[in-house]
């Protein structure tokens, strides 16, 4: 049987608001993250991802309350990222009900953190968040802080190193495409999915159901995180799901059983 593609609602959070930018910048307020999360759950989102986009700035993740509230009513997996720098930070988020934590900046600065987290909590709940930007030579460089800070690391090398250190999953965001609605970066997705044996969540640039389908069929992504499309009410998850099923993808049927 064809594996189910996961359709994930990604919510970038700044302070009390769900926000959305273009190339992770120029952030626009969308509204109350709680109401949106409830709606995406009701519409059959397979998972939710919360990213605290200003966490690195303040050195901490402020999503503890948001997650605690979400897990009262939402019974699908929740990933939380932004400002996770230690086993203690991860523990705080997992304790309030997060299923997975995503790390980027801290892992880049100290890759040993990956091993510490995966030994403590299991690799299945440690997600590497990669912010990728195309280089002039055609490869991709990993960035941090919403695509602002260079790391000097090559994305393809970095994901392989992180996999060997114990990452369980990769959230791969194309900074170049993010918020542009021009389609996901299929070459980037393919470059990563062809070198790792762990699931890859593709993110950044989905403007239409066809874009999402291409990330799966051409990019071999295991999951696609959508934001712009659903936050601006250009399509709802139920319609997106049925379009994708129509395009030949295998997705779960949330109304069965």
């Amino acid at each position: 049987m064809q594996r189910r593609t996961r359709l994930i609602a990604r919510m970038d959070i700044k302070g009390p608001n769900l926000i959305k930018g273009v190339r992770l910048e120029g952030l626009r307020k969308i509204g109350d993250p709680q109401a949106r999360a409830a709606r995406y759950y009701a519409e059959g989102a397979d998972e939710l991802i919360y990213m605290d986009v200003v966490a690195s700035l303040y050195g901490r993740n402020s999503l503890v309350d948001v997650v605690r509230h979400a897990t009262e009513h939402i019974f699908v997996p929740i990933t939380v990222g932004g400002g996770v720098r230690s086993v203690e930070d991860a523990d705080r988020l997992l304790r309030v009900g997060a299923d997975k934590v995503a790390i980027n900046t801290a892992a880049v600065h100290r890759p040993a953190l990956i091993g510490e987290l995966s030994r403590q909590f299991g690799s299945q709940c440690i997600v590497l968040s990669v912010e990728a930007k195309l280089r002039a030579d055609g490869g991709w460089e990993a960035y941090t802080d919403n695509g602002r800070e260079h790391t000097g690391r090559d994305v393809v090398e970095w994901v392989q190193e992180a996999e060997s250190l114990g990452i369980g999953e990769i959230l791969l965001t194309s900074v170049d495409r993010e918020g542009t609605r021009k389609g996901l970066d299929i070459d980037l997705i393919r470059a990563v999915t062809s070198v790792v044996d762990i699931p890859v969540i593709a993110s950044g640039g989905a403007g239409s159901p066809a874009h999402v389908a291409a990330a799966v069929s051409d990019g071999q992504a295991d999951a696609v995180a959508v934001a712009d499309m659903i936050h601006f009410d250009r399509i709802n998850l139920m319609d997106l799901r049925s379009d994708l099923t129509g395009a030949g993808l295998s997705l779960r049927n949330p109304s069965a059983g």
Partner: protein, 218 residues
């Protein structure tokens, strides 16, 4: 309807908030048991578990829960459900990090999901995602009647996240399976009043909550 009592073993592994909350919205009054005394009174018992098999078994034993689980299952014959590693621990042992003994309530071992399929293609491990539950033999799901899957339709998707899975010795203990890239994963087991689910009903949306309600009505 009065709230049904369910006891969730709290032996210091993982987050029990989602599990407790899922039982709460399903009409139960969940109690977290931190001592064997609390667990011994259980009307229904849930054994959660995440992460490594060894650390779960060690923590469960260190908390003094091994005997009480056995008693609730075999002497008191109350409904008991292990979730994820909580299911895996019910078996004789696991091959994770060398052979590790389990509780031995169900015959069989826990083994890693093969990273290569029959055709030599890579299979991604951990297995993360939604996958449909199927009865092991009768496609009708007749065998699910009066079990935790009693109100679940064959083909219902539930959420899995695991690298190891159980290989029961007794085919009759297998309640549901799911296919993962050509590998048959044991998704749920049942032996009398003892259940184990490899997936996470507390993370499987309305379908998962239905399974929890069925467990509560056993």
């Amino acid at each position: 309807m009065t709230a049904r009592h369910v006891t969730i073993l709290d032996y210091g592994v993982g987050n029990l908030r989602s599990v407790a909350r899922a039982f709460e919205v399903s009409g139960a009054s969940p109690e977290l048991a931190e001592t064997p005394g609390q667990a011994a009174r259980a009307e229904r018992l849930v054994i959660p578990g995440v992460g490594a098999f060894r650390s779960c078994v060690d923590a469960l034993r260190a908390a003094g829960f091994e005997d009480v689980v056995r008693e609730v299952v075999t002497a008191r014959e109350r409904p008991v459900m292990g979730i994820c590693v909580g299911m895996q621990m019910l078996f004789d042992g696991s091959e994770e990090f060398g052979r590790q003994p389990g509780l031995g309530l169900l015959p069989g071992i826990v083994a890693g999901i093969p990273r290569v399929d029959a055709a030599g293609n890579r299979r991604k491990v951990p297995h993360i995602g939604w996958s449909p539950l199927q009865p092991p033999d009768a496609p009708s799901g007749a065998g699910w009647k009066d079990t935790v899957l009693g109100d679940t339709t064959p083909g219902t998707d539930v959420y899995f996240v695991h690298s190891f899975s159980a290989r029961p010795t007794e085919p009759s203990d297998v309640l549901a399976v799911t296919d993962y890239g050509g590998y048959e994963i044991c998704a749920a087991v049942r032996h009398g009043n003892l259940y184990g689910v490899q997936f996470h009903p507390e993370k499987s949306g309305p379908s998962g909550l239905q399974i929890i309600r069925s467990f509560l009505s056993l």
